[in-house]
Amino acid sequence: MNESLKRGLRLGLIFGIVFIFFMLIGFTTVATSIIGQLVGNVDAQSSSGQLPVSNLIIFTVIMGFLTGISAHKKDLKPNWIHVLLAGLFSGLVTGLMVGGFAWLIGGLDAQGVDFRTYLPNLGVREIQYLIFNVPPQAAALRYILYFVLSSVVGALLIKVLSPGSTVNRAVVTLKKTTVDKLDVGKLKGTLENKYVLVALLVAVGALMYFLPFVWGSYWNYIMGTVAIYILLGLGLNIIVGYSGQLVLGYVAFFAIGAYTFAILTAPEPHAIEMNLWLAVLISMLTSTLAGLLIGLPILNLRGDYLAIVTLGFGEIVRILIKSDLLTALTNGPKGITNVGQPFWRGRLFTDTNYMHLLMLLVLAGLFVAKRLKDSRTGRAWISIREDQTVSQATGVNTFRYKILALLLGAAIAGLAGALFASRNQFTGPEDFTLMVSVNVLCVVIVGGMGSLPGVVLGAFVLKGLPELLRELSDYRLLAFGGLLVAMMILRPNGLWPVSRPKFIKQRLEACKDEPMEVSA
């Protein structure tokens, strides 16, 4: 009883703060417009210049629903009264907070207070919308009502679905009769059949060949970006995922590759215009050299120092590119235009050709990364990542392997940079901010450190998905930041974690029983 109330109060407070935060950053308005698109409720927008209020009600109800669902405590066997109380209480707290807030801003707005100087998302129109176009007191009551009702329904739903209930038993039986009947072993056996595998590969290959023609140039551009991020992710995965060295200035190698390529192939400012394929090789070499230069002195430092030093290195590279000191070489803040374009049978590359090239390179990169991981080198990296001291004791030259990982990662970043510059036909210092490093790091971590399918998945989630949801692009970095924290707490192994060999799993299980010594 007491427990449910406490939990309800805590969750209600959290959700209330989250909802008010959403209102203040303007996310509520964006979310309602997305809901409007989903339920086909957009016609009214054009006439009155405002979304129908029903969308906001849907959003409120969804949030209340979530409150109720979380108010339920998993480890306790729920009792009807407790569930009901927790749902009611959390809904009431959230409703009171949000309602009170709505009353406050509505009332102040009616007195002619202008919030926009300090809180740009609270314009007059937005406030009117947030209080459902009714007087503030009525809006407050409405919020309380919606939150309480939806929260109670959410809590009850969880009770109905919880293990042991009739519905849950029915679902489990249904799953047993349908899903479990599918013989996974048989499916796997079919996949291992040589002919089936070849047929599958041919089908996938054909799909990958024809898709760029069908997509059109817009999608080729987006998918090209995703492919470049997969390449970058593969490179950083070798450094962070395999050998466990946190590098935060990966963008430096990317920038060096892009700029080397651009300087060597563009007519301005140096008019070298050398052979493109040679230029790609030289870009990779320069990036590798930069990796050697920064890696040799600092790679024996501990993880978090390395992160900050490489971050500083990334910033140094960007500032130097922009500075007057190197303007003669890099064209300064203006960047380099007309970067060299590849030819194929006497014709310039089209976007489709680029897409095919990128797909091939991604496949090659995946192949190399996979083979590397399973090699002696890969095992040495993983041993360094797991425990450097033990690895050293078993005879691994840790410094050499760490340098090797950094150099390979830098070379791949150089390649990706050259492709990036050539595809965009332009390269400027603002393409290489710290956020690029962070994005690539997110790609590696969200997918799962060291996991190759994870890198591909991560690149699609982090670079492809935001393109689909354009309205949400303002909130992308906010979500990244939150995601990083949440992933580290809830799922540090990523979305698609590396599967460990069976014997290691058993050892880990065995370790769990013994209390481990927590060292400082």
Binding site: I25, I298, R302, Y305, L325, V438, F480, G482, L483, L484
Partner: protein
Amino acid sequence: MIEKLKNIKLSTQLIFRLVIGILLLVYLGWRIVQVTASGATFGADTWLRFLISGLVIGGMYALIAIGYTLVYGILFMINFAHGEVMMLGTFAGYFVLEAFSAIPGSAAQDINFLNAQPVLALVLAFLVGAGVSALFGYLLERIAYRPLRGAPRLIPLISAIGASIFLQNAAQLLFGPQRRQYNNPDLLWRGTGWMIPVGDKTVMLTYTGVFSFILSILLMIGLFVLVKKTKLGKSMRAVAENKQAAALMGIDVDSVISKTFLISGALAGAAGVMWGIHNGLFNHYVGFIPGIKAFTAAVLGGIGNIPGAMLGGMLLGLLESLGPALLGLDFQLKDVIAFTILILVLIFRPSGLLGEALTEEKI
């Protein structure tokens, strides 16, 4: 001595360091000689100006660096979001001063509260700024770091990077991306100060600069007393020395860690308000570069060492403002100088200027 020298193995690493070090020293010496010999240096007034601005900025760096050092000393983690905590303090102070400039100060005169009661307004701005930053420092530890205690080293660091990105973008979305200007009381208006005659020219010693410098020195003394003389400081030192042993002596380790985050947040918040009062313009990026620079300062002085952080902050501020002039470089390269110092310190003396020699595990 000779015995010691014999024991040093000439690894590739060491040779590499030596070569880089010698080349660098030769280059720096040559550059300084060249710049001074060319006669195109600045007059004494300009040097004094650089010195003043270096000391003022250095004081702020030192305050932020203490936060890094305190947290590092106890948890061995880099609180990457510390710069963002400072940014929130800057915003809080700004809102307080804005609010005071909107309320009338007295009925008779046409004067706002900010100028009617400048001391009270400033004290409140600093208290609120430090309080907000302390609160966020505390929340940061509770939400983003505490669940990860005992996890591998990289995990809390990634969480801290995530928190930093989150806070920065939350501030941008809440308050908008435009630059804002601090509303100082007339008493402490930017661009006013004492005139110091140097030769036939004068150098302005701004009121805000003197104010910031004195306040940061006072805060540092206060912190030093807190750490050395109070019971809380004693338990903080004990926890930094050995968590298990401290817990066995009856110290509540979790509460000491929370208090450490509160203190370091409050110092960063005070530095944030100072930053706003002294520099005027700010936006949500205000904490990022000072954050990294303060980390550099903490490393320069020896991370985990409080006097080291103070010394490192002052030194970094001075190097940053005098360095470009000494080396004859552009002033847009001052960030490059700071980052280069960071890399060089980590290569040649990872334990910093005042830090004790750390074991491999701690470095």
